[in-house]
Structure formats: C-alpha cells, structure tokens
C-alpha cells in the first residue's frame, strides 16, 4: 500500500501539473465570461514549440519561453477572432484545437519529415530540484521533493493567480466583467482590453503546461499528446467552482485519478472507467450547482446562455 502511494502521489503531481496550468488559464477566461475550449490546442501547440526550440537551441529555458510564447500567440489568435470578429467562442475554441492538431503534425512533417513523434537524444529538459529544507523529512521529503521546476512553478502560479484575481484592481475588474458586462462598461472598465489580457495570460499559463508535457513529463513531442488534458482542465475549472484553489484541488484529484488509471493499466486492470472520473464528477458538480441556483433564483435561461 505504502509503495503504491509512494508511486502514486508523485505521479499525481506530475499528471496534475499540465492540467493545473491549463486550468489556471481556463479560469482567467472563464472569469472574463468566456469558456476556453481552446485550452487543448494551446497545450498541444506549446508542447510542440517547447521541445523543438529546446532541441534546436540546446537550451531548455529557451524551449520553455518558446512554449509559453506560442501559447500566448495561439490565445491571441483566438481572442482576436472572438473579440474583434465577434465569432462564437465555442466554435472558435474548437478551431484552435483543430489548428493545433493539424498544424503541429504539418510542421513536424515539413520541418523534420516525421509524422508521429519528434524525438532527439539531445533535448535538454527542465531540471528537477530538491528543496533543501524538507529533504530529510521522512514522508514529506520523498513526496514533495525531486520534481521538475515546473511542478513547483505550478504551485507558485496558483498563489499568483489568486493574488491577481482577489487582491488587484485588475482582478476586481475581471470579476465584474464576467459577472455583468453592462456594469463593467458603465463603470468605465475597458472590457475588450481586459478580456484580451485574460486570454493572453490564459495562453501563457496553458503554454507553461504544454511545455511541461514535452520538457518535463516526457522528452519528446507526439502528435495529439495533449490527449484531452485541456478538456480535463476545463472540467477542473467548473468542478473547482471557479476559484484558483478549487481548480487546483480539482486538478490534483483528476491528476490522481489519471495516475491511478495508469497504475491500473500497468497491472492489467481496466482503467477506462477511471479516466471517466473528471467528466462524471464535473457533470454532477454543475448539476448540483444549477439545481441550487435555480431553487434560489428561479429558472433563468438568459443566465444559462452565458458561460454557465
């Protein structure tokens, strides 16, 4: 049992990290009033550029920067289409995912002549670290130590995003905008700029998550390697009740479920039902949420037409 936990808890941290980054990004656009279906494609794009730049430049930090930047660019494209051209967020979100799945394979085959996997023995990856203070502590030391720097950066980002949302004027404006566009406009908030900023930040965080996929969790790019994590992150935003802490706990829970599913797979047990957990839990959570809301405020379809 202990052995399983010793394997599972670090595995859960690793599985949770890309989900967590993407969920923080998804949370920011959600608060701005937009469901970010494009997280999946953002993760995939940044995973690709992170490992490609890291390999070609021989520097993992440049790879990370490229991953984050490509996330921002993809998000900027999505935001432009939505905010400037006034396209529908859901459909444009799926466009992002299509562009990412087609575009990454297209570039991989054009640049490297590979259709499935881009891999090089010389890819530098983001280093792992040991925290000196808790190194000797029995259980904690083993569980919390020796992760990729990006895992710790993920935890730090939770604090940063919380601070941004709840302690800054920008965060206040963001929440007001998500709550009611009219109120935001009437108090003089530049709604469009705020939303664009939310999307760019969202792309930045999802970009870090994607970089972790190819420079931490693995050391290669594989077509479609985001494998639904963007949607799990979206589920984490909803399951977590639209708060950074909630999204974090949800990401850890879903990461843990994913870790257990992998563990089952190695034991030859059916893992597919476990992989369903994020979606079933989120379904139940939003159902409970909407039942409580409708019993409090009555049935309001106009509200439902917004993000939730």
């Amino acid at each position: 049992m202990m052995e399983a936990l010793n394997y599972l808890i670090p595995a859960a941290f690793h599985a949770a990290t890309p989900i967590l980054f993407a969920a923080l990004g998804g949370l920011l656009t959600e608060l701005a009033g937009y469901i970010n279906i494009g997280l999946e494609g953002t993760l995939l794009t940044s995973a690709f550029f992170a490992v490609v730049v890291s390999t070609l430049a021989g520097n993992a930090w440049l790879g990370l920067a490229a991953g984050a930047l490509s996330g921002v660019v993809v998000s900027f494209l999505l935001a432009t289409v939505i905010l400037k051209l006034r396209a529908n967020i859901v459909i444009a979100g799926f466009a992002t995912n299509l562009l990412a799945s087609g575009g990454t394979v297209f570039l991989m085959s054009t640049w490297f002549g590979e259709e499935g996997v881009f891999r090089s023995p010389d890819t530098p990856v983001i280093p792992t670290v040991d925290l000196p203070l808790i190194d000797g502590v029995p259980i904690l030391g083993e569980v919390l130590n020796h992760h990729s720097i990006l895992v710790y950066l993920g935890w730090i980002s939770v604090g940063l995003v919380s601070y941004l949302i709840y302690r800054t004027k920008w965060g206040l404006h963001l929440r007001v905008t998500g709550e009611s566009e009219e109120t935001a406009l009437s108090t003089g908030i530049n709604v469009e700029r705020l939303r664009l900023q939310a999307f760019l930040l969202s792309g930045f965080f999802a970009g870090l998550g994607g970089s972790y996929l190819s420079l931490g969790l693995t050391q290669f790019f594989m077509r479609g390697m985001s494998a639904g994590r963007g949607f799990i992150a979206l589920a984490a935003v909803y399951f977590g009740g639209f708060t950074p802490l909630g999204a974090t706990l949800a990401s850890l829970l879903f990461g843990f479920a994913g870790g257990v599913a992998n563990y089952f797979q190695t034991l030859g047990l059916p893992s597919q039902l476990l992989e369903m957990t994020p979606y079933v839990l989120t379904l139940v959570a939003i159902l409970v949420y909407s039942i409580r809301r409708s019993s409090r405020y009555g049935l309001t379809e106009e509200e439902t037409s917004k993000s939730l």
Binding site: A87, V90, L99, T110, L234, E275, T282, T304, S305
Partner: protein, 333 residues
C-alpha cells in the same frame, strides 16, 4: 473561403509542384467512380449529424454533444446488429431504431437538466462526449471485445444488418438514400408541422413564445432528443454501412464538423446536403492529395480550422451587431 485560401497558400509554400498538388486536391474527389463514391460516403454521417444540430440550433439549444450521441448510437446499433437475429430488411430497421433511440436517450439528459434547472448544455454535452468515448473504449476492451481479434474491436454485425453497396467499386452504400429521406423528413418537420413551427418560434424568441403558450421546457427537451436521435442514427448507419464493427475513436470530429455544416447551411435542412458534401470533399481532397502529391494530408485540418474560426465571425460578414454579450452564444440560432 478564407480558410480554403489559407490552405492553398500552405500548399504553395510547401509543395514542390504547387499547381499540380492543388489540381489533385480539387479534382481528386471527382477523378473516378471510386473517389466520387468515397466522397458521397463521407457525407452520410455529416448529413445525419448536421440535421440533428440544425434542429437544436433552430430551438436555440447548443448541442455540442452530437459526437457522444453519434458514438452511443453506433454502440447500440452495433449491439443490435451483432446480437439480434432478424431477416434482412427488418434487421436494418431494428439497428436504425436502436441507434436512434440510444442517441435520443443520451441527449435527453442534458435536455432535461437544461429545461428543469437551466444547466448549461454546452458544458454538460461536452462532458457527456468524453464519458461516451471512455465508456466505449472500456466496453471494447472488455465485454464487447471480439474474442477472435487481439485488439479493441467489437464482433462484426450480421450480414442481415449490413447496408448494400450501390456504386461499385466505390464503398458508397444505401445509407445515402436513407440520409436524403431524413433530409426531407426534417425539412417537412421544421417547415410544415405545427410542432416544428413552435420549436422555431421558441428558438427565435423564448420569452415571446412563452407568452404565446409554448412550453419552453418541452421544446428544449424535444430539440435535444430529436437532435440526439439523428446523431445516433448517423452512428448506427455508419456501422452497418461502412465499418461493420465498432472501433475506438472513429470519425472523432463528426459532431464538431456538423456544427459548422449546420452554420454554413444557415441552419436549413436542405442546405445541409451541399454543406456536408463540401466538408466531405475537403476531407477526401486532402486524402487524395496526400496520397498522390507531396502535400501533407494534415493540411485539411488547417483549412477546416480556418472555416471553424470564421464561420461565426459576424463582424467579418457585416452582420447586424444586435447580438450583445448575453446573446453571444445564442446568436447561432
């Protein structure tokens, strides 16, 4: 068009003989009976699912769960095709009923949630999509796995349940005729029936129609159920027309393509046919170009992404700016 243009620019940039590649891409789907049949075949599931989306959009219900409803329809269609023992025509009918009912049942839940508690159908149907995917991969790895196969695939449906091929040597099957029949049925339902009228009215203006005595809750559920039934039917027809057995992850974009098909068709059932053919043409054109030129077949996804990005871009088409933020999602109807 801009998406297609971007795709052709990519051809020019990456191909050693761009003109030839483009020529192959455009003419490929028409170059032989085989490819014509393949293109028509590809359009069949898109027509069914696209019709389903159209009904939902007309009622101003945003069903993005067609992918899951399509899969659940395929699942039950497979079960009916494998385990029922019936004479030929009846067996096909049984598969159609099973897959249609399955898709309808799977869409009923998000419809019920929306009508009872206002639960956002975008999120619920999206979750249901992933639940369907994992459910099917679980069943294919366990109870439903063909004992003779050593990978995750169901047993084949009986020959009494398969649809005949009608344009040899192409794989085109009789499902195209059923698809056309349903195009007409949906057209008559939406345009000529009383309930279809109520459904459209409720979609156009929920509040106004409520004062007019139309039960919005009933409309929401009915739209979801009909939408799911058509998507599920598309899944069942795909199984007995082309695949013969259930596999993992087949046609993973059909539900999302169908949304765009319905939008391009301006949510009109008769428009679904050319729009679905256009998408099928893109897919097959990319495939032919991938086979016979040095162009990557993944280019098609980039072209489709361009279409997805811009198909709802109102500012681009100079549409009226009457749809302010709350109506942004509803602007589709």
């Amino acid at each position: 068009m801009i998406g297609v243009g971007a795709g052709f620019i990519a051809i020019v940039l990456t191909s050693s003989s761009p003109l030839n590649s483009m020529y192959v891409f455009i003419t490929g789907p028409f170059s032989s009976i085989y490819w014509i049949g393949t293109t028509l075949n590809r359009a069949i599931p898109l027509i069914f699912v696209g019709l389903g989306i159209t009904i939902a959009f007309k009622a101003r219900v945003f069903n993005i769960g067609a992918q899951g409803q399509f899969y659940i329809g395929a699942l039950l269609g497979t079960l009916a095709g494998v385990y029922l023992g019936l004479p030929p025509v009846l067996h096909v009918a049984a598969v159609m009923v099973a897959s249609g009912l399955a898709g309808a049942a799977y869409a009923f839940l998000p419809g019920l949630f929306k009508s009872r508690w206002g639960t956002n159908e975008i999120v619920t149907t999206l979750m249901f999509n992933f639940i369907a995917i994992h459910l099917i991969s679980y069943l294919l790895a366990n109870q439903l796995q063909d004992p003779m196969a050593n990978y995750n695939v169901s047993p084949s449906v009986r020959s009494s349940a398969t649809l005949p091929e009608i344009l040899s040597p192409s794989p085109l099957h009789a499902g195209i005729l059923i698809a056309v029949l349903f195009v007409l049925l949906v057209f008559v339902f939406l345009d000529k029936s009383v309930f279809g009228y109520k459904l459209r009215l409720s979609g156009l203006n929920p509040d106004f129609s409520r004062y007019g005595g139309i039960d919005r809750g009933v409309v929401i559920i009915a739209a979801m159920v009909l939408s799911g039934a058509l998507a599920g039917l598309g899944g069942g027809i795909r199984i007995i027309g082309v695949q013969g057995k259930l596999t993992e992850g087949f046609l993973p974009m059909v539900g999302y393509d169908a949304i765009n098909i319905s939008l391009i068709a301006r949510n009109h059932p008769l428009g679904i046919v050319p729009a679905a053919l256009f998408f099928a043409f893109l897919g097959v054109g990319g495939e032919v170009a991938g086979l016979f030129t040095d162009v990557s077949p993944h280019l098609v996804n980039i072209i489709k992404a361009g279409i997805f990005y811009l198909v709802t871009a109102q500012a681009l088409f100079g549409f009226v700016e009457k749809l302010i933020s709350e109506d942004r999602l509803e602007g589709l109807a």
